[in-house]
């Protein structure tokens, strides 16, 4: 915990001590009892807030029941216990399209996120998990992750639209008239292809740069993250040659949607083409597909983390010199982490482009790199549940949370507000999204640098400082 965190903690306990419930009495309780007490306390606070400021209905009680059941029962001691909590969350996520319209409304945040927000949340979760491999496992700060997202999106743009009109190659694409010009390859093939190409570019970027350390690597990745979108922006006319690669600021649109084609559709009932579905089914199809991609990413992340390669990444993160002395090949290991992170970024980018049916160079600003980094840091660097939480929460905030909050604030404190009129012109809260994310970055780093849901190992590193040299002590050779 940072200094500010310690300060808050000390004052909290001082307050409780004055009420006759000091830290010693608390610590004398049984561990499970403490946990149960904490859970019930916060669930009660939550229910009270929903009843006062939100829209109350019975689903709030079900949600409270699930939270209490998940947190209080020591699942880990049961056989197959470690599977139960993730399974509960998975079932809730899979069934989300069926119950979200009936959910209670939270105070300030408003109603539960809609389906298009959920799709975007899943895609950003995938990107955040990819970046987590680079930043969380291998400890390399990558400020240009948006470049991989861009490459993935343009892969979909090139091979699933009519961009290259002088060619005509169709392979497995759905919903395309046979005479359509350009490349039309099935999205299911483009996703892995985009991942592989992005991973290859990650290796190419990584090979010369990964021997730099710490902040120098960060700034080089930032440079690549700025160059690649600029190539996309200016790529409609390369140096006056007239060759249109990227469509310039117009972007590439429309991009084909995913789908299974008529044959499979008739035999299995899977949708022939996502883009031709009714609105509700359209979002469901994209959401479940995105959920599958996230599951695939989570599976790869877990298996990689526990593999020989993953342990090498963590060793490099904790102490590069010691890892090298133990025979970990630094360059190869770092390059693999870069390629892996890029792979998931590329898939997510291609899928996102297919979902939006377009890709524009303005989607790939430096801000997005920081946005994804913020997800990883807020949730808990290196910890998969933490990163998923951080990604979902921030993507939700950016998509609809901030505008809901803005509506609430303006409704209560804005012009003609129901509470007190503090400001007299409506404040456009979503306009300040990146300032708010910046504030989150600063507060998390000062108060809880290991993130909200950290892995125990990473938290220990932050508190004992084994990761690398602290700022203050950098003086001698060898850093």
């Amino acid at each position: 915990m940072g200094r500010a965190g310690r300060w808050i903690s000390a004052h909290w306990w001082a307050l409780l001590g004055r009420l006759g419930f000091g830290k010693d009495r608390w610590l004398a309780l049984d561990r499970n009892a403490r946990r149960a007490f904490k859970t019930f306390f916060w669930v009660a606070v939550g229910l009270l807030l929903i009843a006062i400021g939100g829209v109350w209905n019975s689903t709030a009680l079900y949600a409270a029941g699930i939270v209490i059941a998940v947190l209080i029962i020591p699942w880990r001691r049961l056989p197959f216990g470690q599977w139960i909590v993730p399974l509960v969350f998975l079932v809730l996520a899979v069934l989300y399209p069926f119950y979200y319209t009936h959910l209670f409304g939270s105070p300030i945040f408003g109603p539960a996120p809609g389906m298009d927000t959920m799709v975007v949340m899943m895609i950003f979760t995938m990107m955040a998990l990819g970046l987590n491999v680079v930043v969380g496992y291998a400890g390399l700060l990558d400020l240009g992750y948006v470049a991989f997202y861009a490459i993935g999106a343009y892969m979909a743009g090139w091979f699933a639209s009519s961009q290259f009109a002088d060619r005509k190659i169709h392979f497995g694409a759905v919903g395309i008239t046979p005479s359509a010009p350009g490349f039309h390859i099935s999205i299911w093939l483009i996703l892995p292809a985009a991942g592989l190409v992005t991973a290859l570019i990650g290796v190419l970027i990584g090979l010369p740069t990964l021997r730099l350390r710490g902040d120098y690597l960060a700034i080089v990745t930032l440079g690549f993250g700025e160059i690649i979108p600029q190539i996309a922006r200016n790529g409609d006319n390369f140096f006056g040659t007239g060759f249109n690669l990227t469509g310039g600021t117009q972007g590439l649109t429309p991009i084909d949607g995913p789908g299974f084609g008529n044959f499979i559709s008739e035999h299995t009932g899977l949708p022939a083409n996502y883009l031709f579905l009714q609105t509700a089914d359209f979002y469901k199809a994209f959401y479940w597909t995105a959920l599958l991609l996230v599951l695939f990413t989570v599976f790869c992340s877990v298996r990689l983390r526990d593999s020989r390669l993953g342990r090498a990444w963590i060793a490099i993160r904790e102490d590069e010199i010691a890892a090298a002395a133990m025979g970990v090949p630094l360059m190869r290991t770092k390059t693999w982490s870069y390629a892996t992170g890029a792979f998931f970024g590329g898939i997510a980018g291609a899928y996102f482009a297919s979902f939006k049916s377009a890709t524009f160079p303005d989607d790939f600003f430096f801000n997005i790199s920081v946005f994804i980094l913020c997800m990883v840091i807020l949730g808990g660097i290196g910890n998969i549940p933490g990163v998923i939480f951080g990604a979902c929460f921030l993507a939700y905030l950016n998509q609809e949370g901030l505008s809901n909050i803005g509506g609430w604030l303006n409704g209560h404190f804005g012009p003609g507000g129901t509470a007190v009129e503090v400001w007299h012109k409506p404040v456009d809260v979503p306009l300040y999204n990146f300032g708010i994310f910046g504030l989150i970055l600063v507060i998390v780093m000062l108060v809880r640098p290991e993130g909200l849901i950290p892995s125990r190992r990473r938290a220990a590193e932050f508190h004992e400082g084994v990761h690398d040299q602290p700022l203050y002590d950098v003086s001698g050779p060898g850093g």
């Binding site: 902040d215 600029q230 200016n234 430096f366 300032g435 600063v442 932050f462 602290p470 700022l471 050779p477």
Partner: protein, 335 residues
């Protein structure tokens, strides 16, 4: 790799020479634009290099402090109510007042940022303050956004555009105007004062000692924390001066310009050798010239669409092949 670097520099020289031969007057005009750009970049780059020298931290928020300096200057200059091409008597007090206010405000702002966002993280892993620096950068941008809105903040072109001299060269004329000269006239004394401060005063000695070895400096009785704060103050003041010059010369500032220009200035600092003050000025001039040549020369220049890519390519090439920069010494970073 020296082969590669030699080929690159050689191609660059050929390109420049052909351009000189084709239109010498145009070349000299562009050269003066580059000099003016370089002067502004130098002030910003010095801030990066001062902070990096003492804390080994890339202060991402620095570019945004510069941008706020521009906003503050624009506000004060507008308050003076000067018209375009005002007289010297009306111009001088306005510029001096806004220079002082911008320098003091930005210095105080930068020192506050250090106190809030970097000081509590002295013992944290090195990436922690880097991340708070990015966060502070976004916060400052949104402060400017809330203050001035998303549009350009414009001010009248109060610097005189009359000519200092006019020379005939190769069939056309080179005109050097006062607004370009004034930027250099304000920059040079600030640079000299900074050099004097760092080289000849007790506080400067403390800064150099702290940069070399903080523990040893502390043992010699130097208040390390106060020295670091002072460094941030000076860096912020330089950014404020640069902000004023930018607002005066380009006559418009927008909330998101600081970050981009900050990255360009950081590249300049790296090019010259980060932590090295003359190096930062040299790097800034080179980057200023490269930008002006790229955007202004007629024969086969990539144009302003590619300026950022070119600058960042230089950054990457320098970091990969010569991390110590042109004038710097080899650091552990470049191992």
């Amino acid at each position: 790799m020296p082969m590669f670097a030699a080929i690159l520099v050689g191609l660059l020289l050929v390109w420049l020479i052909v351009n000189v031969a084709k239109d010498p007057a145009d070349f000299v005009t562009v050269f003066f634009i580059g000099l003016t750009n370089g002067a502004v970049y130098a002030l910003v780059a010095l801030g990066y290099t001062l902070v990096y020298g003492i804390l080994e931290l890339i202060n991402f928020a620095h570019g945004d402090v510069f941008m706020l300096g521009g906003m503050i200057s624009a506000t004060i200059l507008t308050a003076f109510g000067l018209e375009a091409s005002a007289s010297f008597g009306a111009l001088a007090p306005a510029i001096i007042v806004s220079l002082l206010v911008a320098m003091v405000a930005c210095g105080a702002l930068n020192a506050t940022i250090e106190f809030v966002a970097y000081k509590p993280l002295r013992r944290a892993p090195r990436l922690a303050p880097l991340i708070t620096a990015i966060g502070m950068s976004f916060i400052l941008q949104d402060i400017a956004l809330a203050w001035k809105g998303p549009e350009y903040v414009s001010l009248p072109a109060i610097l005189p555009r009359s000519e200092v001299f006019r020379v005939a060269l190769g069939g056309s004329e080179v005109v050097y105007t006062w607004n370009k000269l004034i930027v250099v006239i304000i920059t040079v004394p600030v640079l000299v004062a900074l050099m004097w401060l760092v080289q000849s005063t007790k506080q400067g000695k403390a800064m150099r000692a702290t940069a070399q070895d903080k523990d040893a400096a502390a043992m010699m009785g130097i208040n390390v924390n106060r020295t670091i704060s002072f460094t941030f103050l000076i860096a912020g003041a330089l950014a404020g001066a640069a902000g004023l010059l930018y607002a005066l010369y380009f006559t418009q500032v927008r909330y998101d310009q600081g970050f981009q220009l900050g990255l360009i200035a950081f590249t300049a600092a790296v090019l010259g050798g980060i932590g090295n003050l003359p190096g930062a000025v040299l790097g800034a001039l080179i980057i200023g010239f490269i930008q002006a040549f790229n955007e202004g020369l007629a024969w086969h220049s990539p144009g302003s669409d590619w300026t950022q890519s070119i600058v960042f390519s230089i950054l990457i090439l320098i970091l990969v092949f010569r991390p110590e920069g042109l004038l710097g010494e080899r650091t552990p970073e470049g191992a």
